[in-house]
C-alpha cells in the first residue's frame, strides 16, 4: 500500500525525538516490549498493528524523502527523527483534514479485517439469495471462514433475510456522511454488482488509498458495535464469533493471568514452561497495554524501590537512564516497569 507523506508527518514530533524503525515495527504489529513501550511514550500505540496484514511493510524509504524535503531531520545520534519547523507547520496544516483511525479500542479488541471479510461474504450470499440466484462466484476466502458463513446462511435463509440485511445496511449507512456511505456500498459485492477496487474508489472520492483504508477500518469497527448494540441485528452475531484479539500477545495474556492468580514470577515461569526473563517481558507488555488500575504494580515494585526511583528520577521520562540506578540493586525490569507506571500516572 502506498503510504501518504501526510500520515508519516503526523507520526513525528518537533520536541520528542522518535525512532523511525520503532514506529515502523509498531504499525506492522511487531509487538516487542521496546516497540510497545516507545509506542506508548510516543502516544502512537493506538496505531499499533494498523498494517499487520501487509507483508514487507516499510516506511523508511518514504521517510528519507521527507528528510530530503526538510520536513524531518535526524538527531545527533542519527537514530531518531524530529520534525523541522517546516515539518511542524505542515503537520498543523494536515491535522484538521487528515482522517486518522478513531476506534482503536474496537480495533485492538476484535480482528476487524476478519469480520469485514465475513460480513462481505454474508452480504453477497444474502443479496444473491434475494434474487433466488444460486449460480455465482463467491468472494474468495479461507475455507474455515467460508464454512462459518455457510452455517450462518443455513440458519438464516428465510423470507426475512433480505429485509433484515437491507435495514441494517440502510440504517448504518444513514448514520455516516455520504462519502463514507458510498465507500461502504462500493465495497460490497452482490447480485450483478462487483465491488470497486480501492484505486477506483480513491479516484471517485479524490482521496488516497490510505485514507480510504483508515475510513474502512473505522467503518467496520462501528458496524461491529452497531450489530452488537441491538437485538434487531443479533442474526449477525455469529459473524463476530472467535474474532476477539488483544493488544498484548496471547502468550503475554496467559502469563499475566497466571501472575494475577497469585503465582510468583518463578512459579509462573515454571507453569508456563518459559524463562523468568520471558515472564518479565510478558508482564511489561501487559502493563503497557492495560489501564493503570488493572495491573498490580504494587506486587512488583516495592515501596523501597519506589522511593529510590523517586529520588533518582525527575523530569522527562524519555530521558531517564537505567545507569542512574544500576548500583541500587534494581533491575532493568524494575526500571522499565517504573517508567510505565509513571507514564500512566502522567496520563
Amino acid at each position: 500500500m502506498q503510504i501518504d507523506d501526510d500520515f508519516l508527518i503526523l507520526l513525528f514530533s518537533d520536541t520528542q525525538p522518535r525512532r523511525p524503525k520503532l514506529i515502523e515495527n509498531l504499525l506492522a504489529g511487531k509487538k516487542t516490549v521496546s516497540t510497545l513501550f516507545w509506542g506508548m511514550r510516543y502516544e502512537l500505540i493506538n496505531y499499533c498493528e494498523l498494517f499487520s496484514n501487509y507483508k514487507n511493510f516499510n516506511i523508511i524509504n518514504n521517510l528519507k524523502l521527507l528528510i530530503d524535503k526538510k520536513y524531518l531531520k535526524k538527531t545527533i545520534d542519527g537514530e531518531h527523527l524530529l520534525l523541522t519547523s517546516a515539518g511542524k507547520e505542515q503537520q498543523n496544516d494536515i491535522l484538521n483534514n487528515y482522517y486518522l483511525p478513531r476506534h482503536s479500542e474496537i480495533y485492538h479488541k476484535y480482528n476487524i479485517l476478519r469480520f469485514k471479510k465475513r460480513f462481505l461474504l454474508a452480504l453477497q450470499v444474502s443479496s444473491e439469495y434475494s434474487f433466488s440466484n444460486k449460480k455465482y462466484y463467491p468472494l474468495k476466502m479461507n475455507i474455515l471462514e467460508y464454512n462459518l458463513i455457510k452455517k450462518w446462511f443455513k440458519l438464516n435463509k428465510d423470507s426475512q433475510l433480505s429485509t433484515k440485511m437491507y435495514r441494517l445496511l440502510y440504517t448504518f449507512a444513514e448514520s455516516m456522511n455520504d462519502d463514507m456511505a458510498w465507500q461502504l456500498m462500493t465495497t460490497l459485492t452482490g447480485h450483478a454488482k462487483v465491488a470497486l477496487t480501492a484505486d477506483q474508489q480513491s479516484k471517485y472520492l479524490n482521496t488516497t488509498i490510505l485514507q480510504l483504508y483508515f475510513r474502512q477500518i473505522d467503518m467496520f469497527c462501528v458496524l461491529l458495535k452497531f450489530i452488537k448494540s441491538s437485538n434487531e441485528y443479533n442474526f449477525l452475531e455469529p459473524l463476530t464469533v472467535g474474532i476477539r484479539v488483544n493488544l498484548m500477545s496471547n502468550a503475554s495474556l496467559k502469563t499475566f493471568e497466571l501472575f494475577l492468580d497469585g503465582y510468583s514470577l518463578n512459579e509462573t515461569a515454571y507453569y508456563r514452561h518459559i524463562k523468568v526473563n520471558t515472564v518479565k517481558e510478558h508482564l511489561l507488555n501487559a502493563a503497557i497495554t492495560l489501564p493503570k488500575k488493572q495491573f498490580p504494580y504494587n506486587r512488583l515494585l516495592s515501596l523501597k524501590s519506589l522511593k529510590i526511583f523517586q529520588q533518582r528520577f525527575t523530569g522527562n521520562i524519555d530521558d531517564w537512564q537505567f545507569t542512574a540506578v544500576k548500583n541500587d540493586n534494581l533491575s532493568f525490569f524494575d526500571f522499565r516497569l517504573y517508567q510505565i507506571f509513571r507514564s500512566k500516572v502522567d496520563e
Binding site: Y137, K193, L196
Partner: protein, 487 residues
C-alpha cells in the same frame, strides 16, 4: 462408442451443464477414458477441457485429483466449479493456512474434485492423507508445463510419476491446449506412462476466428503511441499482456489518462480482493481492457474477448497460443496483435534465463554444499539445485539438465523471433510449429507489419462514453442489492 453411452453422456451434459451437444473432442476423450485408457487431450483454449473431468467425475464414484501448475489458475477453476454448483471442490495449495490444511486433510473424503499443486502433492503428509481415498482420475492440467517448466520452476513435477504410483492411480488425463510432438512424447515419458496404453486426442490448435498481426517498432515511444491509438479504435473487451508488472501498471495509468477507456492492471502484486474485483468487473463488461501479466486469464471464462495484444514477447509460442486463445471463445471475429521491437528479445532472454543456474553456479553449489545454509536461502536457484542434490542427482546430470534447459529456452525464443520475422503467412508458421499444415490464407487470416483494416474485420470500436463511470448514489446501490425490498 456405443449409442447408449453417447446418449447417457449427452443426458448428463444437458442435466448438469445445460448444453445440448459436446464441443469437438470432448466426447472422444470421455470415450477413451471410459475404455480405461490414459488420455492426452490437446484441445484448443475454449474447447471445454474442464468439462471433461467434471463429467467423468459425475460418472465415477471416487475422487478426481487435478494437478494444476498455477495457484491463480487453480483458484479460478475452483470458483468456476463452485459457480456451476459443485460444492465438494477444494484447492489444496500453499495459500492454505495451517488450520485450513488440517481441516482439508481431516475432511479429504468429502471432496469429489481435489485441485492440488505439485508442491503440495510432494508433501509426505498430504500423500499419506491422499492414500486414504480412492482416485478414479489423475488429471494433469496444463500438461505441457511438465515438459516446458518441469525442470526449472517446478521441479516437483518430476515427482508426479512417483505420486501416480504411490497413489495407485488407475487413469491419467493430461490436458493441454498446445503441445508439439516433442512435448507430447516428453510429457508422457516424464509421467512414466505406457505409450501403448495412452491415447492422444488432438484437435487443430488453429483458431481461425482470430486474426493475427505482428507490428514492429523502432523504440518504446512509438510502441506506446501505437498501443494507445490501437486500443482506442479496437472493439473491446480486450487484454494487453506485459512481461513486467511495473510496465503493466504504468501503461494502465497512461491509458487512463490518455483515453476514455476503463482499464485496470492485473498481476501477482495486486491484492486478492482487488483481483477478484477486477476479474469480475471484466467479466461483467465493466472494464474495457486489462493490462496484465500472464497470470491473468488462465481460468476465466469470458466468451466475448475481442482482442489480445502482446506488448512484450511471451515466453514460448505455446504460451502465445494459450494467451491469444482467450480471445473469441464465442466464435466471433477477434484479433491478436504482437507488438515487437528488437530490444524485446533481450528482455525475454533475461527473464527466461533468470532462474536457470549456469555451469559456474552449479559447480560452486556442488563443491560448497556443506557451507550453504539451504533452508535459510531465499535464492530460487539455490532451492532448485538443492532439490536435485537432495534427490541424489549427480553434478554431471545436473550440469547436463540445465545446459539442455538453457538451450531449449533459447531455442523457444528463437522460434518466437522467427514468428515476428516471418515472410509470408503467420498462421502457417504458427501451425507448423504444432505439426499442422495450413494453406487457406485469406483476408481474415493475418498480416505482417502493415495496417489492419479493423472495419473490414468488424472490429472497429463503435463508441466510447464515460457515462457509466459517473459516481452513483449510495441509496441506489443498496436498492440494487436486494430484490424488491425497502424500509
Amino acid at each position: 462408442m456405443n449409442d447408449n453411452q453417447a446418449e447417457r453422456l449427452r443426458f448428463i451434459l444437458k442435466k448438469h451443464f445445460g448444453y445440448d451437444s459436446f464441443k469437438p473432442g470432448q466426447l472422444a476423450v470421455l470415450n477413451a477414458l471410459l475404455e480405461d485408457k490414459n488420455v492426452m487431450a490437446i484441445l484448443p483454449t475454449g474447447a471445454g477441457k474442464t468439462l471433461i473431468y467434471q463429467i467423468y467425475g459425475l460418472i465415477k464414484p471416487n475422487a478426481v485429483l487435478i494437478i494444476s501448475p498455477l495457484i491463480s489458475l487453480m483458484q479460478d477453476q475452483v470458483s468456476r466449479m463452485q459457480y456451476l454448483g459443485h460444492k465438494n471442490v477444494i484447492a489444496f495449495n500453499s495459500t492454505l493456512g495451517k488450520n485450513e490444511k488440517l481441516f482439508v486433510m481431516k475432511n479429504i473424503k468429502k471432496y469429489k474434485y481435489i485441485f492440488i499443486s505439485p508442491e503440495m502433492l510432494s508433501d509426505q503428509y498430504v500423500q499419506k492423507c491422499l492414500k486414504k481415498i480412492k482416485i478414479d482420475l489423475f488429471v494433469v492440467d496444463e500438461a505441457h508445463c511438465i515438459s516446458q517448466w518441469g525442470i526449472d520452476f517446478r521441479p516437483e513435477y518430476l515427482d508426479l510419476s512417483m505420486s501416480i504410483k504411490a497413489l495407485k492411480v488407475k487413469q491419467v488425463l493430461m490436458l493441454t491446449a498446445t503441445a508439439s510432438k516433442k512435448t507430447r512424447k516428453d510429457t508422457i515419458d516424464k509421467l512414466s506412462l505406457n505409450h501403448d496404453r495412452t491415447e492422444i486426442i488432438s484437435n487443430s490448435v488453429n483458431r481461425s476466428n482470430i486474426y493475427l498481426s505482428v507490428q514492429k517498432f523502432l523504440n518504446d515511444t512509438d510502441k506506446q503511441i501505437y498501443l494507445l491509438k490501437l486500443i482506442s479504435s479496437l472493439q473491446g473487451p480486450g487484454i494487453v499482456y506485459f512481461s513486467s508488472k511495473k510496465i503493466a501498471n504504468q501503461m494502465s495509468e497512461l491509458i487512463k489518462q490518455k483515453t476514455l477507456l476503463r482499464v485496470e492492471p492485473y498481476h501477482s502484486e495486486v491484492n486478492d480482493d482487488d483481483r477478484y474485483r477486477i476479474q469480475h468487473q471484466f467479466m461483467n463488461d465493466k472494464i474495457d481492457l486489462v493490462c496484465a501479466t500472464s497470470a491473468f486469464g488462465m481460468g476465466i471464462d469470458k466468451n466475448n474477448i475481442r482482442y489480445v495484444i502482446h506488448y512484450h514477447l511471451p515466453t514460448t509460442l505455446e504460451d502465445y497460443m494459450q494467451e491469444i486463445g482467450r480471445a473469441g471463445r464465442d466464435g466471433k471475429q477477434s484479433i491478436a496483435f504482437m507488438l515487437y521491437q528488437d530490444s524485446d528479445i533481450n528482455l525475454s532472454r533475461r527473464l527466461a534465463l533468470k532462474n536457470v543456474p549456469d555451469d559456474d553456479e552449479i559447480n560452486f553449489f556442488f563443491s560448497n554444499y556443506a557451507k550453504i545454509n539451504v533452508t535459510k536461502h531465499s535464492d530460487d536457484k539455490i532451492k532448485l539445485l538443492n532439490f536435485y542434490y537432495s534427490k541424489g542427482y549427480s553434478k554431471n546430470y545436473v550440469l547436463d539438465t540445465f545446459r539442455n534447459l538453457t538451450y531449449s529456452k533459447i531455442e523457444s525464443l528463437n522460434v518466437l523471433h522467427d514468428y515476428v520475422s516471418v515472410n509470408g503467412c503467420l498462421r502457417k508458421y504458427l501451425l507448423r510449429h504444432f505439426d499442422e499444415s495450413f494453406d487457406n490464407h485469406n483476408d481474415k487470416c493475418c498480416s505482417m507489419n502493415s495496417a489492419v483494416n479493423l472495419k473490414f474485420l468488424g472490429l472497429l470500436r463503435k463508441n466510447i462514453s464515460k457515462s457509466s463511470q459517473n459516481k452513483s448514489n449510495w441509496r441506489d446501490i443498496i436498492n440494487s442489492l436486494f430484490y424488491n425490498v425497502n424500509m
